[in-house]
Symmetry: C2
Subunit: 401 residues, 2 copies
């Protein structure tokens, strides 16, 4: 397959490119490196400094494009050129501003987040329509789009049995139209979203735009609503120091489990937001690559935006903190403490949470679960680079109110 990775310089885009290359596919990467600029302006840096984008692509033998696909004047034309030149079968779209706290910082960061993500995706959709209408768009969304509703969360669309968990299997006539007595009248419509931040909202807007483009233009897409990713390396990034991926632990770009592991190594308390009862879905960075591979090898029919919830396990934040505490103490040989902060976010801390991930499991995903060994591996890796930890960027700086 010809695989084009948009956002190929990022935490996930880079190892995804290496993985598809290792699998023997023809891979090219595109990135404007705007995130590296935002890191500088926010005063944060990854744990380990990376070669610049051109350099790492050269080392890895990856062809690259380095323009800004969100440019309202030139983005579409440049993408057209790339699509004509390369004729990708699969377009994996990671090229988005990835931080919820950044999007809540102020009006300008909020606007730049929605602008970057929504306009970039529109350029991709129009250029696909005009040049590669048969290609398969794999778009990264987030489980945070759903929020935490008081009901089960399906893979993107309301299911027939949504009107009640047992209704589907029940013989009693429940008062609905006899013809579809087993079916929720809203079956097939997109499951309603209740996103957590302006960043998560941008992903919701993307999903709506993509679904419409599939319906109207006959494009095909897979929307991967991804849980919180953890992990520092993959099979391919381990092979050479130049192949390492970006790893963030700061309060802007770091995800929670990665941040806890860095805090343990730095001798910092593990900072739980609120009492930590909020539940989230998680997956190992290796499983991100697996899910994208599975989606790419099993494209949906034309005209359809398929949705998969992309996670392997569910934990509450306090559970995670306790796991890191336990394994951290083993690896580091000293006490690790947990501290509950006033929650800077606006989120429920006690709630029902039951999302489905049956779509990807059905296509053969074998989850790599969060074992003690996996956690000790991450903490051990970070400990080797503990000199790179910048303690002043660990505590949250942005509040939702």
């Amino acid at each position: 397959m010809k695989v084009l990775i948009l956002g190929g310089d990022g935490y996930l885009g880079w190892p995804t490119a290496l993985r598809f290359k290792a699998l023997g596919h023809d891979v090219r990467v595109l990135d404007s490196c705007v995130k590296r600029m935002v890191e500088k302006s926010e005063g944060v840096r990854p744990l380990v400094q990376l070669p610049d984008f051109g350099e790492r692509c050269y080392y890895a033998g990856l062809d690259k494009y380095d323009f800004d696909l969100t440019d309202p004047e030139k983005g579409y034309g440049q993408l057209r050129g790339v699509f004509k030149d390369f004729e990708p079968d699969v377009i994996v779209h990671y090229a988005e501003q990835p931080s919820a706290p950044y999007s809540m910082k102020d009006v300008y960061a909020c606007i730049s987040t929605q602008y970057n993500n929504v306009i970039g995706t529109l350029n991709v959709l129009w250029a696909m329509r005009d040049v590669v209408p048969d290609a398969h768009l794999i778009k990264l969304g987030t489980m945070g789009e759903y929020g935490t509703p008081d009901c089960d969360i399906p893979d993107g669309y309301i299911e027939k049995e949504a009107c009640g968990p047992s209704c589907y299997f029940d013989d009693y006539y429940c008062g609905q139209d006899p013809e579809d007595e087993d079916e929720c009248p809203m079956a097939g419509l997109p499951f309603p979203k209740s996103p957590h931040s302006f960043y998560h909202l941008s992903k919701v807007h993307d999903s709506e735009n993509i679904r419409f483009a599939c319906n109207v233009w006959g494009l095909r897409a897979t929307d991967l609503n991804q849980g919180v990713v953890y992990g520092v390396e993959t099979k391919e990034t381990r092979k050479d120091p130049a192949f390492r991926t970006s790893f963030h632990y700061d309060s802007i770009f770091g995800t929670v489990l990665n941040r806890f592991c860095v805090q343990a190594v730095a001798g910092h308390n593990l900072t739980v937001y609120g009492h930590g009862g909020q539940k989230r879905s998680f997956l190992n960075i290796e499983d991100t690559l697996e899910c994208v591979r599975i989606a790419a090898e099993n494209p949906p029919e034309k005209g359809r935006m398929r949705v998969f919830n992309q996670f392997t396990e569910i934990f509450s934040i306090i559970e995670l903190a306790k796991l890191v505490q336990e394994e951290g103490e083993k690896v580091l040989g000293r006490r690790v403490y947990i501290e509950c902060l006033n929650n800077p976010r606006s989120e429920q801390e006690d709630h029902y949470y039951n999302p489905s991930n049956k779509g990807l499991l059905g296509l053969g995903l074998k989850p790599k679960v969060l074992s003690g060994g996996v956690l000790r591996g991450i903490i051990g890796y970070i400990d080797r680079y503990h000199d790179g930890i910048d303690k002043k960027n660990i505590m949250p700086k942005v509040t939702w109110k």
Copy 2:
């Protein structure tokens, strides 16, 4: 009340401002007049030429602001200034690119539509948060956000009885959890949208952003999902030629019933898209003003985005064409013909359609229905200005494919 009208130069914004002023409120209007520029670049013009924005405000005794609230750098700061200066109780937000065909024209028009609408609304939300957090935002959305699903459409949120029309009233146990055997498990979540165009999508994005801002910041808002508006004048616009409102019939900015009436006057066939079985919700321009007044006088509590479906009647397009044909022949004294074109849009032409409008009816809306007399009044008005009709802009130019 202090009422600020965003988009006060438009078809609906202008008469809304006149109405609130006539009711004795303190009214100011804001518009960048970007729509007048787009009209020029698209080569279309309203039926009757209007004074420029400053002039008509001067005649009508309305204070005005004329900057671009969608500006990513200055829009927020300028809005802050207006909110500090005027301290509005109610902000009526019409300041959006209003055309579905325009948004489907090409990638640039699509991007400018979503940019204009989404970023403008984000600036309004942040400036409200920072300056007038108790004000009431009344935002105009559209019934086209819902599309035409195979189930009833509630006022914005999924209702308890959504799992089946009779389930709510039925004594039989239908297999759901006994505690909420009568309730849809998704009750309270936003009803899923299936919008018709990138324009309609921009309104969906707005609604999501507004609902989040209400939840997180405690703002209050009313989202008015408006049907297709028809009519040429209101009680106030009739009083002076300088008070007339913009009236479009072209394929970019004209709405369907207005366009049919102009076609009848121009001796043009009434152009039905497809076989005309598509059903839409409609309301008289007088009822738009009534609905906005009702919303303004009955604000929701803080922290809530209330949704009302704003329409009074449902017609299929072919029914409307036949009504215009019948009344047109009476007024004009000659035959009026109907022509079914290949549908330039992507839409269902045979479908279920049962939206609710009980929210506004419950607050006292008395619908002004589409009678023969009302239609003859519109056709008669247009006939007086028939010299202004530009026949080359009547046929559709943009297709959805």
